[in-house]
Amino acid sequence: MFDGDHPAPLLDVRGLTKSFGGVQALRGVDLSVLPGEVHCVLGQNGAGKSTLIKILSGAYQPDGGTISWQGNAVTIANPVAALGLGIATMYQELDVVDGLSIAENVFLGHELATGGVLRGGEARRRTRELLTRLGHGSMAPGREVGSLPAAGKQLVSMARALSRDARLLIMDEPSAVLDAEEVKNLFRVVRELTAQGIAVVYISHRLEEIREIGDRITVIKDGSSTAVGLPVAETPTPELIRLMTGRTVANVFPPATPPAAAAEAVLTVTDLAVRGVFEGVSFSVRAGEIVGLAGLVGSGRSEVLETVYGARRPTAGSVTVAGRALSPGSVTAAVDAGVGLSPEERKSQGLLLSEPIYRNVTLATFPRFARASLLDERREREVTREQIESLELRPADPDRQTGTLSGGNQQKILLARWLVHGTRVLLLDEPTRGVDVGARAEIYALIRQLAAAGTAIVLVSSEIEEVLGLADRVLILADGRVLDTRNASDLTEHDVLDLVLKGSAA
């Protein structure tokens, strides 16, 4: 609809600038969104995407530049003004209230009421209509939002946008919390929205998704738009990566160096089970080998990892590291035996965000540096500095507060923790979640290096491409069972999805 005759843009942003203190977050961003299109905004973490969103949703005021809405220059003074114009935002950290029902959430802030008395029935009826417009008329408006998965909460957030008569919906990395199936569903919903003439600004750094859902792309790098309104279909991926990172990424995955066939099994898992979650999981990992666990969310892949680590107590089976059986359900036993876990939720399970970097790096090892229980912080800092250097962690300051680092650097801290510990077995759960493209390649290279140095690695990722690109062997899981074990080189992404979907259907 936007080829040739250029319809008037719904939103037209020119030369937007914004700085915080001494930091120039935006240095000139252009963005032009047409009615009914999916406009992808692409950029690495920290490129300025969040600042742009917050300006458009009225949370911040720009320092310079203009915003035109339906042809008229506007200032978006606050979030209410943004909603008044018809700009709704679906944040990554969904702003739904868990304790309220779907209908109550949809009309949160603009409740349907007569003289202060809520009209609950009316709210539920209209919520059902909105959900139907989103293709989910079967969701009960009275259901408590806290009981919904992330995908359901996103729907609630979208229904809320519709209830405000939004003309433009900004979605901030909506797929980050979804599995492959849910993402497909999300795309169906997005298409419903655009078919109704609503424009969607879709923020993501997953190129595959943008290919599938996007109409046009604006790329932001270092606070400036490096490309505005590129048609998705005509822009090759390497070009997008170049625009985003300023460098050409020839191959994201480093070449595999398969372990010596004679290498001994370091980790052996035998008939491991947690009742009601998974059962009969057996596999072994040799020194230097990377074994991937592929499967949908709910297949039990993260739970297998956590049970191997002792964070969950198995109901059957055993875990052996270098010939010694681990005492079941004991993280300490696993750590002492040389097993490390980089957990799925980096922030909530992995890091002390308000503590400095070095205390996170040495979280599993600080007693080792201590003499007679007295901490040796100088050595902790020294060791951290070495890790910072070898992992190219930024900023290179052991005392920097961990919460201020980007996702990729936070992930490196977790790897550094286990490198310092000297683990023989490293369990990686979603090591690149929330990590941008550039840092991703670095983390892949690190994982490879670790394997080459003889570490046995088990990798869980919801991105099948990542599992296939890194692993030597792949276990395919569905509904808590191992369907198959194959060499990664014999599999394509399509094969895995096929097996997984068949497996869960069976």
Partner: protein
Amino acid sequence: MSEQNTTVSSSVPPVIDRPKEKPDSPLRRFLGGSAGRNLGLVIALALLIGVGAATAGDRFLTVDNMLTIVRYASIIGVISIGMTFVITAGGIDLSVGSVMGLSSVVATLAAVQLAATQSSWILMVVVALAVGTAAGLVNGVVIAYGNVVAFMATLAMLVGARGLAELVSERRTLIVNVAEFLSATRSNILGVPLLIWIFVIVAAAGWFLLNRTTFGRRTVAIGGNREAARLAGIKVRRHVVALYVLSGFTAGIAAVMMLARTTSGTSTHGTLYELDAIAAVVVGGTLLVGGRGTIVGTVFGVLIFATLTNVFTQNNLSTSVQAVAKGAIIVLAVLLQQRFASRGSRRTD
């Protein structure tokens, strides 16, 4: 304020060609450091002393009165040190006041005092510490292994220990008649009462334990992110038990100090001390949600409240007025703390 922090951080990525963040100015570093966090407390204490000097100068600004203030602060102070650890780890101990009362009556039971007369006055100290420690152990086990919320577990102990103290003492005041105990604990060293020395030693030991040992690091780690600590191999439950044992132990020390000061044990000793201790800890800058704790702050918190009480008493103001002022100070101090904390801390998301 928080949303601003979020965006700034997400716009300061680790990309190499990005302009370097301006280094923090020395002033900023100072305000962000522990000295800065305590600056508000120093100012508050100085103000109070100023008010005291202005309103009751001749009586207030004497060495004797200063010692009285610190002596008054010392018992709550010792409890507050234990409380600082518990709160830093994200817990709470409401039972310290009751446990103190219980320890005081058990240590002054006729049988105990008789045994102490026959052997050594130290026995009374040991009994008081043992009772406190045991109560802490029960708290810790119920919380860590029974998965009972700390608030409820220690609330139950608050009620239960007070009741037990009444049963044990038959609601009578038990007079300390072991002369050696009184002469030892009511002595002065270098002109300073022993009670104050005990507070100083406990505070110094607490500072060292929190900031310089693996025990302290575990405490902060568990308070900062319990799950991350567990997944890094820290034995969280065991440590939580140790923390409540520590808190119970300090309540036992406080009981001994109370016996020395009042020369009697009664089930009402330590009533509402838990609230004073929590207020002192939080006013001092320890985060109630855990993850950051400061012993120095706690000591200031205790001294501020003790000075306040003293200033009011010197001016013959009623305890009701004191209570109102105390409430106001808690709110003001916490507001101030948040100011300093947010100015000092680097951008966080």
